[in-house]
Symmetry: C2
Subunit: 300 residues, 2 copies
């Protein structure tokens, strides 16, 4: 494993994803300086040897690299641009800011430009793989940024991720993540319609899922989310509103770019239908209840 | 490999798929009695040692098992129910009819009932895997029929297929195949929208496809058809009108069952759009030109 001894990393956003990521960085030898909106986790991680900072600004001042792992784009803007935010650090010149959350492309480009003005590098490096991937340190990482900035981020990314792709310049990581979420959302819809058809025709959806494995219809979604549908086990995982937000964000980007994504737009409406019916707490595989409202839910 | 020595198999429908399948059965030791609409292939296969029959009826009279591999449901009905068709065979009692084409569920159920009336077994066993799978004898086979009929068909199916699943009673194979085609068609659409978004945002679609491999967005379709889109190589493969017909057939079944498949309906319209624009000769990955009409075509 990459050795990060002697490196000081600011880590901002210690939720379900951020926590195991910060732990993995500490395990690799880095000194961690942390801030978080809620303070409970700060106490917990302080006991493990991480250093609390008074603000994102203070974390940035103490560190060479600042990693943000926040729940949404407004939270990221607040952490970077807000009062006592990272961009207010006295000595930002020469530092590296890495956003590993899923953020809007246009905001990402704006924040990266702002960082550059202040003399810092910026890499967008959103991830896929969930809390299990975060814990195992084998997240899929899609990175955008200059070659130099990416190379600089790489030793840190290698501690957190399995597959790491430098997709292109600033924002390319967020575009890849948007593409990822579009495929995931639409493929869940594909499996939902296929299994609904089978069930309505009186054929065991579990047997159909099994028959399709290994063929052209096979996918990680058929394996994992198809199985959730078959068993009616909709414990999240990622909840429907998260997937809905991702589809919405992709649509917003498409609108800005002047292209139509008809299946993505339809999928967003279907997720709305599930949420409106009171199933927003289900894993996104619960989309099948937009097609068949009486599809059994055995676990939620 | 299963040894079919001493078995006589009637094989009806010797197109791109049927031809290599018949050859594999002969290789396994079976005697092949063949008919086909066009006669050129009959001459060719006769030279290889297969026996031409005057009609489907004559093929059925000479064989224990009759395999049909026809291009569509009307052709199957004609071969089984028509004058000099399989069901007109003098000695159908105790024989086995296996339909390996992609046929409509309701017609399948009707034909199976008719076969049973005449004392014959019927198995629907549609395949996935294309001509390459047919040649290699590793097709994915989705079978419907009684346990006894399936067991009887199995030695023959084992020569033709890699993965063979007994999905359920008569028609269950066709339902699984419809589910397969729904997922394939919709997943092509998912990859098309994701790569369109990337391209419109100025990010290399090939890099995005690469970044997504191995994650939750990964699928056989992303690998194979995603690569076709990235390279603009739309040599079929399966042409758009075939995929369109499969989506239409799934919709017809859904209508009959009284369920809505909104994404499948949308996808059918998108395939219509591609075909109307003159791109019907493209592989079904050409669906991306319904989203981005200027998507480059380097091979067709």
């Amino acid at each position: 494993m990459t050795n990060l001894a002697g490196r000081t990393i600011g880590f901002i956003g210690l939720g379900l994803m951020g926590r195991p990521m910060a732990r993995n960085l500490m395990q690799a030898g880095a000194k961690l300086v942390i801030t978080n909106r809620s303070q409970g986790v700060i106490e917990e991680l302080s006991k493990e040897g991480m250093t609390p900072a008074a603000s994102p600004r203070a974390a940035a001042e103490a560190a060479d690299i600042v990693i943000c792992m926040l729940s949404d784009t407004p939270a990221l803007e607040q952490v970077l641009m807000g009062q006592d935010g990272v961009f207010a650090a006295a000595n930002l010149q020469g530092k590296l800011v890495v956003d590993m959350g899923t953020s809007k492309l246009l905001v990402t480009r704006m924040l990266a430009a702002k960082a550059q003005e202040l003399g810092a590098d910026y890499v967008d490096a959103p991830v896929s793989g969930g809390t299990l991937g975060a814990e195992a340190g084998n997240l899929t990482i899609m990175a955008g940024g200059s070659d130099a900035a990416f190379d600089r981020a790489l030793p840190v990314l290698q501690v957190l991720g399995g597959k790491i792709t430098h997709v292109g310049p600033t924002g390319a990581g967020q575009v890849a993540k948007a593409a990822n979420q579009v495929i995931v959302g639409l493929n869940i819809g594909a499996v939902a319609e296929a299994l609904s058809l089978a069930q309505a025709a009186g054929v065991d959806p579990g047997k159909v899922r099994e028959a399709l494995g290994g063929g052209f219809a096979d996918s990680r979604i058929l394996e994992v989310h198809g199985q959730r549908m078959v068993e009616g086990k909709f414990t999240p995982g990622a909840r429907c509103p998260i997937q809905r937000k991702d589809m919405d964000q992709a649509m917003e980007l498409a609108d800005h770019l002047g292209i139509e994504l008809p299946a993505t737009a339809l999928s967003r409406d279907l997720y709305d239908r599930v949420i409106a019916a009171g199933d927003g707490g289900l894993d996104h595989a619960g989309l099948i209840r937009a097609i068949r409202p009486d599809w059994p839910v055995n676990e939620r």
